[in-house]
């Protein structure tokens, strides 16, 4: 059978790679210049698989566009040491099964060697087995559920922080800043949690409640609601009844607007709200205006356009400035969180991983994995500000972080952690009567 032949020749290829990589590394070490390695790679075929239709389309399209932007930028700047990236796209239609088929199609019809995806955890969970089986690396730049790849899956890598990083950012910020400002010890702060009941909201809320328990934080209520609800007044009423000091809410985009309106109507005031997803969107600002969103916090990967770039490494800073500006110019909206995920993850791939792959002489899942595991980038070395070090067992980026941002005067700025903060946080949040 043909697949047996393929596997056999891959074994040979693997051996050849190892020897070449070794030779290349030795040459590089001794000569100090870019090793010879044998540039047998003239082309790298990358498949982009995002939900560009269906319920997840708004942000899926953004990630697809941003990833494409970076790949084209890499091509325009000499490719990867001369090797050109060939881009293929497919639409997962916001559905895991369709994503799996689309991934298979990219692999079989377009012979892609690397997949960049998936935006959503469910879709990633269906694509990961396809990638693993077909020996293609899935370079994940969006999904946050901690358990996307199964144990033993060696071809899954994720650049962004999984949901535990959201929880860590929330709770560390609570401990370091909010609790003192509230004048209460951490264990006495009343924290309410609300979340949309899909995979994103649930995984973040679960991470928050788990870590809160470990830190002795009092979660007074945890409310799950449906993202497509036309009315979230019941959620607001229940939250009011719980009398929280701080609200941690994880919506998607649509429910953000509905929730905020209902909260306004019911005059639901808390000392601090840390939202996510929709709370960082330009739609949120557009609907409620600068005064309407003033003081609201948001936890996720940084909105790269509004981040403090001072501590980024110089070449990263300039690349980010270029890419961010191109994205804004081409697509009419600033490069915020999800664009940042895609830009950051793709930049990492083309800058830190692919050169090693090209140097190895061939593009295979094993050579990509080898190059990926060698990456050791310190804080400031990626467009999103954190570092990059991929775990050999889970494929996750142990240096990924989520940050706390805050709407200040119509701009979403990073306020925590300090290294990435472009402004200090403001406290307390205005009450509805003050808006």
């Amino acid at each position: 059978m043909s697949w047996q032949r393929a596997r056999f020749s891959r074994k040979r290829l693997g051996a050849a790679l190892a020897v070449t990589a070794l030779a290349g590394t030795l040459a590089a070490c001794s000569s100090g210049s870019g090793g010879s390695g044998g540039n047998a790679v003239s082309e790298i075929r990358i498949g982009l698989i995002f939900p560009t239709t269906g319920a997840m389309a708004p942000l899926g399209v953004q990630q697809d566009n941003a990833a494409k932007l970076v790949l084209n930028w890499a091509n325009a700047h000499g490719g990867i040491n001369g090797a050109k990236i060939k881009i293929f796209e497919a639409d997962s239609q916001s559905d895991p099964g369709t994503g799996a088929t689309a991934a298979q199609q990219l692999i079989d019809q377009d012979q892609v060697q690397i997949l960049i995806g998936s935006y959503a955890s469910g879709i990633a969970q269906a694509i990961a087995p396809v990638a693993q089986r077909n020996k293609v690396v899935l370079w994940e730049i969006g999904a946050v559920a901690p358990t996307v790849a199964q144990p033993g899956d060696h071809f899954f890598f994720r650049t962004v922080g999984a949901s535990p990083t959201y929880a860590m950012a929330d709770l560390n910020f609570l401990k370091a800043y909010l609790a003192p400002k509230l004048g209460k010890p951490l264990s006495q702060v009343r924290v309410a949690v609300a979340h949309e009941d899909g995979p994103f909201g649930t995984s973040v809320a679960d991470a928050v409640t788990t870590q809160a328990k470990a830190m002795g934080v009092n979660v007074v209520t945890d409310i799950a609601y449906s993202e497509t609800s036309p009315d979230l007044t019941p959620v607001v009423l229940k939250l009011k009844a719980a009398k929280p000091d701080v609200l941690l809410i994880t919506p998607l985009v649509a429910s953000t607007s509905v929730f905020w309106q209902n909260a306004r109507t019911q005059n639901f005031n808390v000392k601090a709200i840390i939202g996510s997803a929709g709370f960082s969107s330009s739609a949120f600002l557009q609907k409620f205006g600068a005064k309407g969103v003033q003081g609201v916090y948001d936890v996720e990967a940084p909105a790269v356009a509004n981040m403090n770039h001072a501590d980024l490494q110089p070449q990263v800073r300039s690349a980010l400035a270029t890419l961010s500006a191109s994205f804004q110019a081409k697509y009419g909206s600033p490069c915020l969180v999800h664009c940042g995920d895609a830009v950051g993850g793709t930049y990492d791939l083309v800058t830190y991983v692919l050169p090693g792959v090209v140097k190895s002489g061939s593009v295979t899942a094993d050579s990509v994995r080898a190059a990926a595991l060698k990456v050791n980038v310190a804080t400031g070395g990626t467009p999103q500000g954190f570092g990059l070090k991929l775990s050999p067992s889970t494929g996750d980026n142990s240096r990924a972080e989520s940050v706390i941002m805050q709407w200040q005067n119509g701009k979403l700025v990073v306020v925590y952690p300090q290294a990435l903060a472009s402004a200090p946080p403001v406290f307390p949040m205005p009450t509805w009567s003050q808006r």
């Binding site: 399209v61 689309a102 199609q105 079989d108 955890s121 469910g122 269906a126 995979p199 909201g201």
Partner: protein, 349 residues
Amino acid sequence: MTDISAPPTALARPARLRGRGIADAGPVAGGLAALLLAAAAALPLLPGISFYYLQIGILVFWFAMLGTSWSVAGGYGGMHSIGNATFVGLGAYTSTLLYVDFHLTPWLGMAAGMVVAALTALLIGYPCFRFGIRGDYFALVTVALGQVAYEVANGATAITKGSQGVPVPYAATPSALDFQFGNRTQFYYVAMAIWLVTVIVAYRVRRSHFGFQLLAVRDDEIAAARGGINAPRRKLAALALSAALTASAGTFYAQFILFIDPASVFGITLSVQIVLMAVLGGMNSYLGGIVGALILVPASQYLSTTFAAHPGVDLASYGVVLVLLTIYLPYGLLGLLRHAPRWRSVIGW
């Protein structure tokens, strides 16, 4: 004096009016069909054939089995359910949870799923048919059922793992017992086999006395009842059978994709797609599912691929294609044969 308690003899079906089913196809059509089946079976053996084509084939068989299962209740029985995803999801979740939590082989899990689905069908069908809910109203009840099933799967996190879904763990050494195959081609043959069984069951039902009575109920429930047929019982049996067959497809999906979540197996989009396959193929025929799937699955793949760079155009075009197909083939493709007695008998219309 006529004994009005005895069923009229007209209902003892006159054999000459019923045709001989497949036997009526004749050597040419029969040979062609056999050739197509052989070609389908030989597809994976083509040298160098990429798995993507086999995956399309698997999708075609999967939708075909769903469409044919739908026809058993919808076509034969007039119960137009727009909630069959409920049964897909029940099959998928039953077998997967039994596998993940109790290490039960998915084959037995599939049987369990079929039982669960059949029981659910009885549970919803009994009150509906007892109180005369039919037609559009029944369809809307099935839509509501699908939504309830989705919300329960999402909310009952302790059992179903909620919205995050359930990944099916890779078996260390994939074996047929785990319903996971190291050689992916075997999935193709399993899909084809399940599809064949579904079609054969649908065909046998159509040709059986039970099927005949079911059609009578569909065409005129009151007259059938007057003729001594217990309409609710027939409809219940058909619905339960349809649900069980649908659930088997759910298990297959779970084992093939290795990940299920409420949105992908309980969604209303899936329910509608199932109806699409059956109706555009020809809903009264046991072959409607495969014909519909053979048209729609490649069409949707083609559109998706061609317009990959333009979000929305592919699905908008698919919608237009559906509208056109519904206008020009309102009885589906096989429905074109419905006026020819011989072909009627072959396709079981």
